[in-house]
Amino acid sequence: MNDLNNAELRRALRDMGATAQSDHRAMRTSLRALFDSDATADQRRAALVGRRRFLTIGGLSVATATVIAACGGTDSPGAARVGLAPTRTDLPDASPNDIVYLRTASSIEYSAIAVYDLVIGNTDLLAAELQDAAKRFRDDHVEHATIFEDLTKDLGGEAWTCGNPRIDRFLVAPVIGMIVGDEATDTPPSDDPQRDTAAFAHALENLAGETYQMFVGLLSEPALRKTTIQVGAAEVRHAAILAMAITGTPEGYVPPADAGEPPVFPVAYAIPSQFGSLSGQQLVVGAADELGVRRPISVDTPSNNTFVFEYMTPEC
């Protein structure tokens, strides 16, 4: 079967070579006739832009370019193109795997640590009664980050010891800006920084718990799933404790049977649902705009654009 196909291929190449030689001769003749004859300038112009000749030369050029591209060696893979174009840069290998999930997990821990570092000791941002809990949660996150780093190294990967680039850029930085104010983006400070900081910490703990629950369905080894959900179970306890502090008890234990109209600020519940949800959450922080409107921010579980792939290098 292989021999037959190779023979056919050789015949096609030989035939095409002959055709190409014939065509090259034909084109040389045409060009000589166009440019070296005794024709007047108008006649030459007519020959160049005349419809038939234009189509002839244009079709010949495209056909020749197609064949050249098809016959090209493996040094220049990809689609044929005519004209100048920048050299193609191959995309890096971005296949999610266990190492990627574990690096993403440690990145989320570092993002949370950075937020707690910012508010611990600052009672303008975090209420005094939550300071001890924040310190404890921060220490837990440091421990969790170490767990994920060790697992990453055990699998032969490079441990990730920075925050999650995408979460830091598109969630942490804007939310902190909305709480403390950001002149660069003309964002006024929050009307209640303590409320918003607690809500943000609650959202981050939920995000971590949801992420690790999600990773159970992605990690390939049961042992990795077990360790990851152990951390997830601890993160959701952080979230439950914060929910009880934010909403109060017993109102903050479980959602009411008849929820009614959703309030402007989503209510934090210690047990928000019967099953662990992966659908993300809404966060409302910052001052209201001139119309009195507060825009919710979606805090979603990580997707491919948030994973810390192996080709990525830390910048912290």
Partner: protein, 212 residues
Amino acid sequence: MDMDSPASSMDGGLRRRLIGAGMLGLAGALLPSLASQAGASAPPDESTTTTAPPRRPTTDDAAMLAFGREVELAAVSLYDTALRGDAIPEELRPTFQFIRQSHLSYGQSLGALLGQPAPPAPLASLVEEYRSAFEVSDIEELAAAGATLENIAVATHTEMLGELVGINGATLIASILVIESRNAAVLTNIAGGADLDALLLNDAEPLTAEKG
């Protein structure tokens, strides 16, 4: 256009050249096709195959998940005992009813995954061991018993996740486990536990089918 002009006099060979160019293009278009046929006939590289975890529970998974179902239904039985008693104040009844209903949903979901029909079978040894703790008339004692039960469930399911192979069973258990962990924090809070260690730590021993 003047067909007799020097430029137009070249037309005699143009049609042939155009046909020639068309044939050249056709040959060019065929070449990749021929090349891909040649490539397709090559034997596949068997060294690059990977094995993804199965989605459905394996036989061993099914035994573990059935045990998990028994634990959940035992919890339903114990919370039913508590809700029949007088320990739970009115403002906390929604919380205990919510938790009880959650455990029932877990048992039903596990049964659905396994294709096991009713009637449900609670884990009798667990019910027997904790029944008296759920019959108390003091809410803090009751909540402490509930927190212990939730922590046991979390430990049991965590251990199970370290052995489950099928993805469907593992993801279901994970979605149960994270809520039971929250239940434990809430019940510890109701029991008067304000200490962070009490709220956060779980030192419960997991149940196994043998230990029951």
